[in-house]
């Protein structure tokens, strides 16, 4: 008896299957190995660039502010807000989905910077475990009277190169490691022209539209005058906008100056960080 049951089942399935197999289409993904979405919400995690691209023919406008005073100023400086802000206005344009160019202007030191970001590898759902992107940037300090002797244009220049390796580990957690090199033709504060850093950043999603972020850039050849750059932030996305609010040690918004002008630690018996916020907006052209 027990031997005949499998046979009956086989015959029954042979009778039933051909007629029912065509009643519905098999559900198949159009592209099973598609790029992973939303590794980071914005092209910048806080001050550090992320692997996130702008998108082809999209214009990304960013307004980045960090108040110059630290929160240790207390109510007298309204937690640093009274002392003005270092603002970077930025425009970025996506030439392709994997290549973008950008232009920015920072109020402190009146820095104009340009950058190119290229994504070589996108993390995908099946074949690629990480996204890898490269960035190169050029900056000019246009502030007058920065040097005692009449400076040449080349004296005001800074060069920057970075590799970004990022992975979205789960729906909530994404991490990025970014080895970087900054070179200043004539640094003011620094005893050396080159700084090597290892940016480490992460994002943890809270609900569907908000996330907490952190970043730090340990400087491998750190001069004593500098402190470890650290920032923690909160992202909120609303349609085409991404708002970022954060606590940061540096008033600057580009990696090379975050490293080079980071004088205060995050906390030294009292909080020494600054309050900042970024507004990101994307336009499709």
């Amino acid at each position: 008896m027990s031997k005949t049951w499998p046979k009956i089942a086989l015959i029954l399935s042979a009778i039933l299957l051909p007629s029912s197999a065509f009643a519905q289409l098999e559900r198949v993904l159009a592209n099973p190995d598609r790029p992973v979405d939303d590794i980071f919400k914005a092209p910048k995690i806080i001050g550090l660039n992320s692997v996130k691209q702008i998108g082809k023919n999209h214009l990304h406008m960013s307004i980045l502010h960090t108040f110059n005073g630290s929160v240790s100023g207390g109510i007298d400086t309204f937690f640093g807000i009274d002392n003005g802000a270092n603002v970077r206005l930025g425009l970025d344009y996506g030439i392709t989905d994997d290549l973008s160019v950008g232009l920015g202007r920072t109020s402190n030191l009146k820095i104009v910077d340009t950058r190119v970001k290229w994504t070589a590898i996108n993390q995908t759902t099946q074949s690629s475990p990480v996204s890898v992107a490269f960035m190169g940037a050029l900056s000019i300090e246009t502030i007058p009277n920065r040097f005692t002797v009449n400076p040449q244009l080349s004296d005001k220049m800074g060069y920057f190169a970075m590799t970004m390796v990022a992975r979205k580990f789960s729906d909530k957690l994404s991490l990025q490691a970014s080895p970087m090199l900054a070179y200043f033709e004539r640094p003011v504060l620094l005893p050396r022209k080159t700084l090597l850093g290892l940016g480490i950043a992460g994002r943890y999603k809270l609900a569907g539209r908000s996330a907490v972020t952190f970043e730090t850039i340990p400087i491998l050849n750190k001069p004593d005058v500098l402190s470890l750059p650290v920032a923690i932030g909160y992202d909120l996305e609303t349609g085409g906008h991404v708002f970022q609010m954060f606590f940061t040690t540096s008033t600057f918004h580009t990696e090379n100056y975050i490293m080079a002008y980071n004088l205060d630690p995050f906390w030294d018996k009292k909080p020494l960080f600054r309050i900042g916020f970024n507004v990101n907006r994307v336009f499709a052209l």
Partner: protein, 185 residues
């Protein structure tokens, strides 16, 4: 005895497959149908489209089956597409929208465009709803053309619109589909 069973199964498989091909002459398929949704909120109107609608219409059995991989929808802004996939449609969990049902009002004798009605289940975001959707059908020699238009209320399918966004994303989405299906042999 074992051989007899195997032989019987073999004969039946051959028979049933030939039977099916004769039935299949009345079934039509596509994987390039067009689907479009229009979101009209007070501050923002936008359209999402895809040309990867999969469909099967069987005029003999009077059944239809359509599905789309929601990852193929594009609204024109990459960031909005990403938000759509991640926060609203949750395509990682629910990659497909589908509509499966039975066709009524179809008259095989008619050679012009005719109005038909499909009664079936529409599923998106993992929530199934019984729907009756009117459409238009035109039968040509080796193709059929179908089009339909219906509304999808996001709240019916557990897709929550955050309060700060109600001006930018409509709860009621105007959905249109259009497809040319070829005869399946």
């Amino acid at each position: 005895m074992k051989r007899v069973y195997i032989l019987a199964v073999l004969i039946w498989s051959v028979l049933s497959s030939t039977l099916c091909t004769s039935v299949l002459a009345q079934s039509f398929v596509t994987d390039k149908g067009k689907i479009e949704f229009i979101s009209k909120a007070s501050l923002e109107t936008f359209t999402g489209t895809s040309n990867a609608l999969n469909g099967l219409v069987d005029l003999e059995k009077r059944t239809i089956d359509f599905y789309i991989d929601l990852n193929t929808l594009r609204t024109g802004i990459a960031l909005r597409d990403e938000h759509m996939r991640e926060t609203y449609l949750e395509t990682k969990k629910y990659p497909f929208a589908e509509f499966t049902g039975t066709l009524s009002g179809y008259n095989p004798a008619r050679k012009d465009t005719q109005n038909v009605v499909v009664v079936g289940d529409f599923t998106i975001h993992g929530v199934k709803k019984a729907r009756t959707i009117p459409g238009r059908l035109f039968v040509a020699a080796n193709h059929i053309y179908v089009e339909a238009r219906w509304d999808v209320k996001l709240s019916d399918h557990n897709i929550a619109i955050p309060k700060v966004l109600f001006l930018k994303l409509a709860d009621q989405q105007d959905v249109r589909m259009q497809a040319q299906l070829r005869r399946k042999n």
